[in-house]
């Protein structure tokens, strides 16, 4: 049995693993995407010590630091469920089942999907969720970006440099992004904004060729070759029930990263912590590991 199973290996999970390993805890780290959301962040300018660093380069540094320790890391497993059994906890993944005295949940967040017709059909065939990866593929193309937050604006600004035309579709009719980004975007001749419209269908044959918008009963169709879905994220907490969460599904934690279940700790973007930042996630990961260590040693 492990002292702790750490679920997720983004900034929070990796930091928790390092702290736990340095306390000589016997740990298992489960992840299906080492580095988490930081992998998809083009540049990071607010991680203390690094004035500007690519997300993927920061992840390489985290991974190298973790590699120094003898932590058991399974980086190709997806956690399906976790539950309390007597005084311990069990975790089931797509590859096995494991048991530990404590859990540190650092499973982060996943892209929200639109949930509309054509979305799943055309993933990889015009529908994209990762601007960093896929923007370069749409050079000279007409594309749509769905969303009104910083991610949507950021994707739009990347596309605006190379695409023929960018349609930004913001259902909320009031951009939630930083004003400086909004101003930059609205100033571009290649950008057209649709406020208050809802995308109801993505159309195509072999690849995407259009989207259908709806507002107040009025339908409009736009010819596009690409659709970037940037409507925010949801916490990856579905695998654990019987634990206190807020209405958004974020796990409640106190300042010691304790959850409503003794022995389960949580850190980073999966929790209700208001600042979803890499550096905050790292700090929370450290706290969660130290709390797990105290728990194991005081039992």
């Amino acid at each position: 049995m492990y002292d702790s199973i750490i679920i997720g290996a983004g900034p929070a999970g990796i930091t928790a693993s390092i702290y736990a390993a340095r306390k000589s805890m016997n740990i298992l780290v489960l992840s299906h995407d080492l580095g988490g959301q930081t992998n998809w962040t083009a540049t990071v300018e607010n991680y203390t010590g690094f004035q500007l660093i690519k997300g993927i380069d920061l992840v390489e540094k985290f991974k190298a630091h973790l590699k120094q320790f003898n932590a058991g890391v399974k980086d190709n497993e997806t956690v399906l469920s976790a539950w309390k059994t007597g005084e311990t906890f069990k975790v089931k993944t797509d590859k096995g089942e494991y048991e530990a005295k404590t859990l540190v949940i650092a499973s982060g967040r996943v892209h929200r999907k639109l949930g509309i017709k054509g979305e799943d059909e055309f993933i990889g065939k015009g529908v994209a969720y990762c601007a960093t990866c896929d923007v370069p593929l749409f050079s000279g193309a007409v594309v749509a970006v769905i969303g009104g937050g910083n991610s949507a604006l950021d994707a739009s600004l990347q596309l605006e440099k190379i695409a023929k035309q960018v349609y930004v579709i913001d259902e909320t009719a009031g951009f939630k992004a930083d004003p400086i980004l909004v101003e930059k975007l609205l100033g571009s001749p290649r950008v057209k904004v649709f406020r208050g419209d809802k995308v109801v269908e993505i159309m195509g044959d072999k690849f995407v060729n259009g989207i259908r918008l709806e507002q107040n009963g009025k339908i409009e169709e736009l010819e596009v070759e690409g659709v970037f879905v940037e409507i925010g994220s949801a916490p990856s907490s579905g695998f654990i029930k019987d634990i206190a969460k807020n209405v958004s599904g974020e796990i409640y934690v106190n300042c010691r990263c304790e959850t409503s279940v003794p022995g389960i700790f949580a850190a980073g973007d999966v929790t209700d912590i208001p600042a979803k930042q890499i550096i905050v996630a790292c700090g929370e990961g450290a706290k969660a590991a130290l709390s797990a260590y105290s728990y194991v040693n005081n039992k």
Partner: protein
């Protein structure tokens, strides 16, 4: 007989970097083309593979989309 491996990538795509590291770690030879920089290569990828996302790997004509370690290991006979 060694397989003819070609990968289609873009410069900032993390799964593309992971794929290259994976192949290099296993000492597998491959050619790589940046479909963000090379429009002709992008059109070739789209035509040949039916995919408009990266990475895409072509192993002697067998297409694997995304960095799918298990499918790769199976196709390359690494299991």
């Amino acid at each position: 007989m060694p397989k003819n491996i070609k990968i289609y990538t873009t410069s900032e795509c993390v799964y593309c970097s992971m794929l290259k590291s994976y192949l290099n770690d296993k000492h597998i030879e491959f050619t790589s083309v940046d479909v963000g920089a090379d429009r002709q290569a992008f059109l070739e990828m789209r035509e040949k593979t039916g995919m408009m996302s990266v990475p895409v790997i072509d192993i002697d004509g067998k297409i694997i989309a995304g960095f799918d370690k298990e499918a790769l290991a199976k196709e390359l006979g690494l299991q």
